[in-house]
Symmetry: C3
Subunit: 264 residues, 3 copies
């Protein structure tokens, strides 16, 4: 039997909103450790990895490992019916082909339960090795979202270049070119306004803005975003989820056949 | 001659917004008692009854009973041009085929008058007998609107079941089932947050969510909604309008041919 | 070389938003006096004149007169990427066929530069003589915008009539007629709430609401709008831009062939 009670139910609502457009169907994996998901986006270019650790739940009961195949669009529809202050409980009986989402209003005056059918989804779990990155940029998530959105009004791809001084986002399109430089800045009033750069060696990589923009749907989950870059590896765009986990997006850099095309 | 001066003009704006999508053309009836309307929706399934008592107007002059055939969409367009703090006066001369809406800004610096042609509309006034209801649910109007909207993302019809403990709204659709239970709750800080159930006998009735959702356009008119249910009668969804009247929506329950289809 | 540094960068963003739908391509003219633009709208009916005086810039360097042909939609796209508190610098090298917009965040942590290609645009600069007007109406810009929007839900043209007492806006359409009268009012708490009428002789002129509505996109630039009317001349709708200039829209009155058609 599975019964996971999450007091801050809005977190789960935000998680679904941030991945439902990227991934159609996916398996949620429940184990003693936590509630997790790993899935490729529908065009098989980007990878999403979600972890909500069991300690983050008020009550976490998972008698045996369980993999629940779920249509994320439908699950998002149901979670939209939860109030932002509602407590959400996820329930599934052993061997059942359904999952139930229960929403309790803070005053307990309104209790809703939504039941949905599970699906069989083929998926292979990819092992993602912990890697060393050339550069790790930590910056306000709203700033990163703004930059990705702004640049996509000019071009389709972004060249991200990290030096000790800062990180530069560049694009080029029919109407012109654009460069946005964010300087390292640790002396801020609020820690979440800081831009912090850890760099082992300079790195310059090009990515499709369409995917980065999609990743930024996770912005409501966290004030900060961490972007980890290495020339040989997919970029990792990570949003921490409160004290309990993270959502990570992986995207391979574009190989530039025509240098002129994307490098401003 | 007709001259009705309504200081809280925004009420009339909200009334029109709440019925213009349900009813195309209708007669407004003016008598010494008040300003009223009774009309079937365009698919002849639901009935709207509006009453604004004469006492609610700052000035109310109606020399003889008058029935004014009006296209509600056009009237709504004109009322949209009134400011939310404007005083609205409705004027019609005897025998005239037009009606004039006058809007005065609170400072009297801006005075507008909008004149529209009246129409001849055939309509028979239905006598709606006062009835005894099996159950009357009074609840926050925003909560009722939220539930109808949420459930219509899952299914097309809602089963409303009232017991002494509370009222349950249930639906079922392709993606699953949903139940929302609101418990009786009278010990609230603000009276408009209460959910109050008066029940003579339990009742369970099914309605098309499309119509209920349409009724909830009246939500801005009142913090509370009253839902009166009887197995033999149309449901009445009532929104009180300040101290001066009400808007009531009537809808016949669906006869369930296939039990499995709508009963979760 | 051209280098214009505008601390209140949001002004330039608002200027572009207010003209980009009216004019596709236009020459910005830079001289020692200021940064200006004059252009006909794409249907060659209305004229826009913009002036930002050099004194309004924190730094203003313009070595020689320069005319820069620009697609306003593309420029607006780039300026949308500037934050509302950003400092904007416009830069162009002598003989260069590009212009660069630089945006600096208030904390200097984020610096963006956007470069766009210039175009060759044929245009003749019209001399607009200073004229005597029969009537000049100064009123809150939001009120003027509201009236133009409201009336265009009823009719296509507006008859503006000025008397000593006030200004009347009238229209007529399929669903009826509308008149909005704004009274002269100088005894207001805030000067920007005043409606002030300077009149030499009464004037009544008809204009296409489509254009007036387009002009009101400049509303965010100023709390006040000035409407200057003469029977022989195009109306001038002027929005002052802070201490540094103005944006003026010119529109010829409609000659009324059929009196009944537009005169309510």
């Amino acid at each position: 039997m599975l019964e996971l009670r999450l007091v801050q139910g809005s977190l789960l609502k935000k998680v679904l909103e941030s991945i439902k457009d990227l991934v159609n169907d996916a398996n949620f994996d429940c184990s003693a450790t936590g509630f997790s998901l790993q899935a490729m986006d529908s065009s098989h270019v980007a990878l999403v990895a979600l972890l909500l650790r069991s300690e983050g739940f008020e009550h976490y009961r998972c008698d045996r490992n369980l993999s629940m195949g779920i249509n994320l669009g439908n699950m998002a529809k149901m979670l939209k019916c939860a109030g932002n202050d509602d407590i959400i409980t996820i329930k599934a009986d052993d061997g059942s082909d359904t999952v139930t989402f229960m929403f309790e209003s803070p005053t307990q005056d309104k209790i809703s339960d939504f039941e949905m059918k599970l699906m069989d989804i083929d998926s292979e779990h990819l092992g993602i090795p912990e890697a060393e990155y050339h550069a790790i940029v930590r910056m306000p998530s709203s700033e990163f979202a703004r930059i990705c959105k702004d640049l996509s009004s000019i071009g389709d791809t972004v060249l991200i270049s990290v030096t000790k001084e800062g990180v530069k986002f560049s694009t080029r399109g029919d109407i012109g070119t654009a460069n946005v430089v964010c300087r390292q800045n640790t002396t801020v009033d609020k820690p979440e306004d800081a831009t912090i750069i850890e760099m082992n060696e300079p790195v310059s990589l090009t990515f499709a803005l369409r995917y980065l923009n999609s990743f930024t749907k996770a912005t409501p989950l966290s004030n900060m975003v961490t972007i980890s870059l290495s020339s040989e590896l997919p970029v990792v765009v990570e949003y921490k989820i409160a004290e309990m986990g993270y959502i990570r997006f992986y995207l391979a850099p574009k190989i530039e056949e025509d240098d002129e095309d994307t490098k401003p």
